[in-house]
Symmetry: C2
Subunit: 327 residues, 2 copies
């Protein structure tokens, strides 16, 4: 019996599902980072193969694989993946955009909008089951306002300004100094000077994109009522709303599907006390948050075989594809 493989390759992990041509789920798998930009071409291709192997029931093979991934679709990466998946019978590899897989993870509709807010941010308009317009996704250096890097940078800037006496004090100061292992007493001028020096050094000693690791501090402090953190989170939410506005057109209402670590951790799951200020990214339109693009990759795999995925089949897929989330 031939099967289908659907894979969602991300910068942290790769997720896979094996299913039959009727959409019945036969197995699930997970492995390490499968994005060639994040992990390198060969390690990423190996991660894709490992996730496929974990998902396929022992002794079975698959004829087609759909791989959802972010960024450029390089021929070199495709060749590495094809070579490895050939061992499982795969003769056809289809690469799809992770934004489309994310959208299809939240709805059976063929049109609407998708927004990813992870370390970076990107939004898309979907029409006729394809991406019609993509905005953002230029990376940390050129934009991606509202993403994890941007939030982490705003957090550090707020802390430096507070230590410097340029801006108001914030609970983020102790949080950030603690997270970076900086020992200094901000109650005294000498301690503040030392804290700034250590903080700036620590930030420049790491990869710039590592600032994204500090983003969760903003959500926690905002939830605890810190006004500085709250302003950062509200500004992030507004930036995401602006990004979504950039792809919206009047003749296409929704739905809106959102995903990514920022969405999962903070902006959409803000405590009720903050919800008035935290403009939802969709500005009034119903929003569905999804953990990843795996359900959508399965939807796309079925559609690539010519099968139709209606609401009922979509709901069965969504119920069956539940990978335990990593810690």
């Amino acid at each position: 019996m031939t099967q289908l493989l659907a894979l969602d390759a991300g910068g942290t992990s790769t997720r896979a599902v094996a299913l039959d041509h009727d959409g019945e789920v036969l197995g699930l798998g997970r492995s390490t980072a499968g994005n060639p930009t994040a992990a390198g071409i060969v390690p990423a291709a190996e991660a894709v193969a490992a996730a496929a192997r974990a998902a396929l029931p022992p002794g079975t093979t698959s004829d087609m694989a759909v791989l959802a991934m972010a960024g450029e679709q390089s021929d070199a990466f495709r060749a590495e993946v094809e070579q490895r998946l050939a061992a499982y019978g795969v003769t056809r590899v289809v690469l799809d955009h992770d934004l489309l897989a994310l959208f299809c993870s939240g709805t059976a509709s063929l049109e609407g909008y998708a927004l990813i807010a992870g370390t970076g941010t990107v939004a898309a308009r979907v029409r006729d089951g394809s991406l019609e317009r993509v905005v953002g996704g230029r990376g940390w250096l050129l934009g991606d306002a509202g993403g994890g890097f941007w939030i982490g940078r705003e957090v550090v800037r707020a802390v430096v300004s507070a230590l410097d006496g340029q801006a108001e004090a914030t609970a983020l100061t102790q949080d950030v100094l603690g997270a970076l292992g900086i020992v200094a007493d901000p109650a005294y001028e000498a301690g503040r000077v030392s804290a700034i020096r250590q903080l700036v050094s620590a930030v420049y000693a790491r990869r710039p994109v590592a600032l994204a690791e500090l983003a969760p501090l903003a959500f926690a402090a905002a939830a605890a009522g810190d006004p500085v953190a709250r302003r950062v989170v509200v500004a992030a939410s507004e930036a995401l709303a602006d990004l979504l506005d950039a792809v919206r057109v009047p003749d296409l209402e929704g739905p809106v599907v959102v995903g990514g670590s920022v969405v999962a951790r903070g902006v959409l799951q803000a405590p009720p006390a903050l919800s008035v200020d935290l403009t939802p990214p969709a500005r009034g339109v119903a929003v569905t948050a999804v953990p990843d693009g795996l359900v959508g990759a399965a939807v796309l795999a079925l559609r690539h075989t010519g099968a139709e995925v209606d609401d009922a089949r979509f709901e069965r897929l969504r119920a069956a594809i539940r990978l335990p989330q990593p810690a």
Copy 2:
């Protein structure tokens, strides 16, 4: 006869002047980058020694050296410099902040403000001949709005947005594509997509701070009337004015001394047609632009010996210390 050495160590070049205790200039010298952060500790110390050697008349020595430099004053760098300058008789090395040297390059006054807008930005309040308050200077990753990196990043963002159809067209597009050697025809959709892909790849392939090299394109395009470039330059000028405001206090009026590549190339030397929009950094207070901190390093060297530097002596120093500017 004992002499004094005054040195201004920057990220691009190191400048030196030898003078006697009456402030008579005996020689000038220039060498390569003398900032340990930019060049490394040993190469920077060697550049300092090379500039000193070039400035000292043959066969003469100096007992004291004042070295103006940006950033942290590390003991390791000081030791390397002391060891090398000992060969020229130097028994006392004084490290001063480049902001103070810049200020003293523009005025004999003991109080006022200094602003550096190069790749990054930093401002200071000077009182009693010392730095009383310093704001900014956190580097490209954490701020420095209005500096060369910031301007270069805004230029690339404007070009990407223009190519993407998100923002208005700008003459910067051809300028940036040309500067980065990108071949694509933005008149067609496929050309725009290719241009964005190449542009983003080129930017991430370089050091982030290399974005500063694109800043001069903004000044040139703004001068030629491009509204997008003009907005970038005006925003930079406003950011510099804000930075200066952050150190200003009512009881200390000025003067204001400014320096750095952004000041030299663009914001303050904007053509008359732009001058209405280009708020001068000092917002109404007289501004003196200086090419570097070498005159100020000489002023500081004399003051460290206990000598007074009044307006007349300052003007003589300024007239005598004229290094040819590198191309």
